[in-house]
Symmetry: C5
């Protein structure tokens, strides 16, 4: 882990002009109780030269087609699908259907869509839920940056028990 | 939220002639116990210049292909899929299969299909069920208008805990 | 409901020669305990000028591809998929998988496939089961006729709580 | 049922030369505890002139693509997908996923894939399990022959409560 | 089983130059607590002349599209999808969705993707979990080698109750 890829990364990015900078799609919902799209954009813009295409839809079941539209009609190189499924059984089913659609959209386009779902009952109260939603969104935004600019870093983290939101559990050995 | 986009919207719409007005598909069922299609059309026509293409099918499992036909053969720019799944386990499964098909139809066409399902057991009695079905249908019709004419409004509502039918839960912070 | 579309319908049908009469595909199974295909054909032929293409397969999981073959290789304009899933959990799963495939086949062809499934445990005994299977099949056959010749009638029935088999539950208001 | 189609069948088959004999794909697994592929081939070769293309994969989740490869790259006219899912909940889920894939493969190719799954817990002991696996495999092999050479026989059996493995339950009336 | 295919295999491989050696894709995750990709590569390289294309993604839901990218953009002849789903119900659902996507990716490409999933709760403690993950990965890597170079060996193992990880259960008869 001692090798620092940062300088190389900054050099490569400085060669990019606006029009060939990677474009990241951000899809979020009005159903969510936190502005996940805003948090994702804030994190993505820290030190990375990327273009952002944002699209807000009503709920998680509207995410798959919105992601596909951003990929095929707006030229996004990767998309984040941000949602907060509710806590009832019907909400769990909606999240499941949305996830299936998000995987299908990726297979139809060969483009990654990083799904960031925080279930409303994952936090023990509203404070923890808000904290978790922000943290998971930011950590997955950093995964997006790695997928765009630094796949080697992901490979170095293979099998290390990374988690997005709560603490990493780490490698077994 | 103080900015009013209404005037701009009306101006844009006045430029549209009949033939290039957006076309909204409305698919509903004979299984439903409320005429959801009629309610949706009533709400959509309030102040918006749109064309309507309506299609009634027997049940929710017939919705996906009907939506796809309206998109591909009738040129709809967006579709509402309106249904009232029953309260038995088999009905829940039918609704699940219908929802998967509706998401798939969207991915095959890159067109939004706004699913408005009210489960028969969501209301504590017939009165509440009827109230809920009308209200959810109307609120989703307004989402359709926003997706067609005013995506900026949806983005302003990102993360604000919007609900269709029962009261909004609001943002956490 | 006082308007009778019947005369108009008969007139239109009399203009049709054999080769451009609509073709209805009928797919049923050897697993079923009632000859659903025969019942469907009997009902469809009452007063309607249609061609029939029948295809019997072993079980419900064989229905999706059989329906698609009838559509794409036999030119069917609509198909009925008739099945009697068993009462065990594994049978419920088979029915679910079959239903997903039937929806997918419709999305791949833009043609309606009216699924008529009667679960073996829906009747309290064999007599009621047989009664239910016949009645649901006949009522869905009439839906097929409406989809082919009289979509306006379906629209008039929108939201009226129609059921196929047991009694209609009716509209709430 | 007194009509014997056998002589006609034998006559038709005698006209077939090796290269235009129907080709049946057989896919089975190393996970299964009985050599289902061998049994299927033995049954298929009784009195029918067909070509066999066999393909063994590790487990049931590998069946869908293997079936599709046999259809699209080996020219099979029909395929048998043979598997013995285990008895744990995770095994049931694997079987469900495999079944969905097998239905999807059929829809992508318009070719029947006859799924023969025997769950490890369907037999009360190993002896019954082995008996059931052999019998279900053989009975489905005969369905394959009917689908290839004698669809009329399947239609005659419509609604007669056929089962593969355990005893037929018969028609209700 | 006394026949040794090894010598023949080595001879065939010696004829292969670097550029037409089969290419195996390896996709694993940062979520896993063991470096499954490294283990798979170690096993694959034992005595086989193959090229490796590795790709690490955050979690199991990112596997399907990564596999498809390796097949369609990197020319892999087969892919291993390596993951360790967590022990919570939501993790089981993620694994299910990932598995559906992996099967779908295979059907879209006619290329095998060998899924190697070890659920975090399959081991009674971390030691057994680590042992199981390594062993299942290695055994499936050997299945990959058989699918590439020695399909006859798989056929010889048909119906012999092979397991990857825990002990084989063997044939019933």
């Amino acid at each position: 882990m001692e090798k620092k890829p940062g300088n190389h990364l900054i050099y490569v990015q400085s060669l990019l002009s606006q029009e060939n900078m990677p474009k990241v799609g951000i899809v979020d919902t009005t159903f969510s109780r936190i502005n996940m799209g805003k948090i994702a954009i804030d994190e993505l813009k820290k030190g990375s030269s990327i273009q952002i295409e944002r699209y807000t839809v009503p709920g998680v079941k509207d995410l798959p087609v919105a992601c596909k539209i951003l990929i095929e009609e707006k030229g996004c190189d990767i998309v984040m699908a941000l949602g907060m499924p509710g806590s009832q059984p019907i909400d769990k089913m909606c999240a499941h259907e949305a996830s299936q659609g998000i995987i299908q959209a990726q297979l139809m386009t060969n483009i990654h869509i990083i799904e960031v779902f925080v279930h409303e009952d994952e936090g023990k109260d509203e404070t923890e839920l808000a904290w978790l939603m922000e943290r998971r969104t930011r950590e997955h935004a950093r995964n997006v940056i790695k997928l765009l600019f630094n796949k080697e870093q992901l490979q170095r983290e293979a099998g290390t028990g990374q988690r997005q939101g709560f603490a990493d559990v780490g490698a077994i050995r």
